[in-house]
């Protein structure tokens, strides 16, 4: 008997007992669909984090004053601030493309009758290059304007929609008040989306000198540095460390009084979280597949007993042991594979619904489906072998006499 015939015989008995077959498959269906959905959501989250971080520049390093100590609370307060001398020294390094010191705070905006609170960043003319930002309209401020403490501001697209929505005019050239000081809008940033907790579209960029002198943000705690290429990140980190230690006159025995972090650190953290989740999901998947497999084995054993007479008839008219083994094995594999397939479809459907109704990012990839398919196959074989062997090894006379 060839494989196709065996397949047909098995399918017939699977479809003869539709409700029972469905209930048998349910364990596998639920397990597989849950895993497919969760993985789609997890992968979606991972992909969107990676996207945002890459959008901000993958060769960006952030230097903060103070040493973030594990378990301690030295998060910058009280530790020495950076100076413009530090930034100038950093600028000299070959591995470093751009340096932009940054102060930030929340600030109140007023334009005509509207007022609005946004994030203010005081920075230098290198901001667009270092932070991978570009201008949608108008221009960015110049070195001259930084030196002159000019009252100019570049605003994010969300500020435009919040403050200039009523008028159809361009915000460029308008005067807005920031903490009651009038500033001229000279440019609008292109949208960069949000990364983690930070919304990159809701912000005001002013010259750092202006922010420090006129808006009271005199403590320089953050310097953004861009390496000349992603390959030079390690060299750049090393150079930053050397330069700042020299600038701050630290003894070899003293620890750094600053912290360097990169976007890839953040990405790595995100990926670690995802991989923990993946491991967890795999565990759940394995458990549910084993439970599903036991369900299949249970029903197959019942089925073999129920069909003892049929096995006897088949053996009497010439079915060899292999043919019976094949028949019952295909039956259990059919049950588990069908369960796996329904589970995959259901899982993809559920993920799609979560995306459409909940607005959650999803990523449907082939790998988990392939794994789900393969594991259902393995479950079908593993839990089908024993009942099939039991059927195949029945003696025809005993099986025929069975009532």
């Amino acid at each position: 008997m060839n494989f196709l015939e065996a397949m047909r015989v098995s399918l017939r008995s699977v479809t003869a007992n539709k409700l029972r077959s469905f209930l048998t498959m349910l364990g596998i269906i639920i397990g597989v669909s849950a895993v497919i959905t969760m993985v789609a959501i997890g992968e979606g989250a991972k992909a969107s984090v990676a996207n945002q971080i890459n959008g901000l520049g993958s060769n960006l390093l952030i230097v903060n004053s103070g040493q973030a100590k594990q378990g301690g609370n030295s998060l910058g307060a009280g530790s020495p601030l950076f100076t413009f001398e530090d930034t100038k020294a950093l600028q000299q390094k070959d591995s470093i493309a751009g340096v932009t010191p940054t102060v930030s705070t929340r600030a109140q905006l007023v334009y005509q009758n509207d007022n609005y609170t946004s994030n203010l960043e005081g920075t230098t003319e290198s901001f667009p290059e270092v932070r991978n930002a570009s201008i949608q309209e108008g221009r960015f401020f110049t070195n001259f304007e930084v030196n002159e403490l000019a009252n100019v501001v570049v605003i994010g697209p969300e500020v435009v929609t919040n403050l200039f929505a009523s008028s159809n005019e361009s915000p460029v050239g308008k005067t807005i008040e920031i903490n009651r000081i009038p500033f001229t809008v000279i440019g609008v940033l292109k949208s960069q989306g949000s990364s983690g907790m930070t919304n990159n579209d809701d912000r005001l960029i002013v010259p750092i000198t202006t922010a420090m002198e006129r808006l009271g943000q005199s403590s320089l705690r953050t310097i953004y540095v861009s390496a000349i290429s992603p390959d030079e990140m390690l060299q750049a980190q090393f150079d930053i460390q050397q330069t700042l230690r020299a600038q701050h006159k630290l003894m070899p025995s003293q620890e750094n009084d600053f912290t360097i972090s990169s976007q890839s650190d953040i990405l790595e953290t995100a990926q670690n979280v995802t991989s923990v989740m993946t491991t967890l999901l795999s565990g759940i998947a394995a458990i549910s597949l084993v439970v599903g497999g036991i369900g299949i084995m249970n029903i197959m054993l019942v089925s073999v007993t129920e069909r003892t007479r049929e096995i006897g008839i088949r053996k009497a008219i010439g079915a060899a042991r292999g043919a019976i083994l094949q028949q019952f094995l295909i039956e259990s594999i059919t049950l588990s594979l069908l369960g796996g397939l329904i589970g995959i479809l259901l899982g993809v459907g559920a993920a799609w619904l979560v995306n459409k109704l909940g607005g959650v990012d999803i990523a449907i990839t082939m790998t988990p489906m392939l794994y789900a398919f393969l594991s259902s196959l393995i479950v079908g074989v593993a839990f089908g072998v024993y009942p099939a062997k039991k059927a195949a090894e029945m003696k025809p006379i005993d099986a025929l006499r069975y009532e």
Binding site: M1, E5, A16, I313, R314, I317, G318, A320, R321, P396
Partner: protein, 249 residues
């Protein structure tokens, strides 16, 4: 030991020499067959009779290759069955033996034609050829108009005819019928015996196991078993002839 009698060009399809079968149940040994010698010639119609416990069922299982003798030699169509392995036995059952059982033993929820196809399925015959031969076989027992009925849609006599069609489909060397009329009324029994007689007339060797003397009388020869041995092997003097009516539905 009985003498192997070669009668003018007639070939023995079954040669059994000193066959013994011993079962062990608990610590008790049961001697179901105690040295049986038997020869059945091609084209013969033999009834095996005997009270229960006489060993006739064990004999039938051995002849049907469902069970192996404990000792002795058994040749079926010159094939040494007593030396065969399990897998060979399945093949012999498939190709040399056509079974007809008391309780029909058809697959439930399966159309007649597919039941008849079953031996061909295990013989590896392709689907088209299978269907053709199964239909021919059902036609030959007068069930050409019940091809797609399932067993529960057929009468007992019809079911037994499906099972005869199944027994015939692979052109076996012997037809082995175990109490084929046990579940049927007198009239239907007669019809079924008519089919066996016609098959025998066409040259098939038929072996019938029964405990009803009047059913045994449709055979040409009757072999009596008692206590695991053949006690009589006689030609039937006044044989009953059942008229097989063409296409009885």
């Amino acid at each position: 030991m009985e003498i192997v009698q070669e009668v003018d060009n007639v070939r023995a399809v079954i040669r059994i020499t000193d066959v013994k079968k011993t079962y062990v149940i608990g610590d008790q040994e049961i001697h179901a067959l105690r040295g049986v010698n038997l020869m059945i010639e091609e084209g013969d119609f033999v009834a095996i009779m005997g009270p229960s416990g006489s060993g006739k069922s064990t004999m039938m299982n051995v002849i049907g290759c469902l069970d192996q003798p404990s000792s002795g030699a058994f040749y079926l169509d010159d094939y040494p069955v007593s030396e065969a392995e399990d897998e060979d036995l399945a093949k012999i059952r498939n190709q040399k033996i056509g079974f007809v059982f008391q309780s029909f033993n058809l697959l439930p929820r399966t159309p007649a034609v597919e039941n008849v196809e079953l031996p061909l399925l295990y013989a590896g015959v392709n689907a088209k050829e299978r269907r053709k031969r199964a239909i021919d076989s059902l036609n030959s027992v007068g069930l050409g108009n019940r091809l797609y009925n399932k067993p529960n849609e057929l009468s007992g006599g019809q079911q037994q005819r499906v099972s005869i069609a199944r027994a015939l489909v692979n052109h076996p060397v012997i037809i082995l019928a175990d109490e084929p009329t046990g579940a049927l009324d007198t009239k239907t029994s007669q019809e079924i015996m008519g089919i066996f007689q016609r098959l025998n007339d066409e040259g098939k060797t038929v072996i019938l196991v029964t405990h009803e003397p009047d059913i045994a009388e449709y055979a040409k020869r009757v072999i009596h078993f008692r206590d695991g041995q053949v006690i009589a092997n006689d030609v039937i003097q006044e044989r009953r002839i059942a008229k097989f009516e063409e296409v009885v539905v």
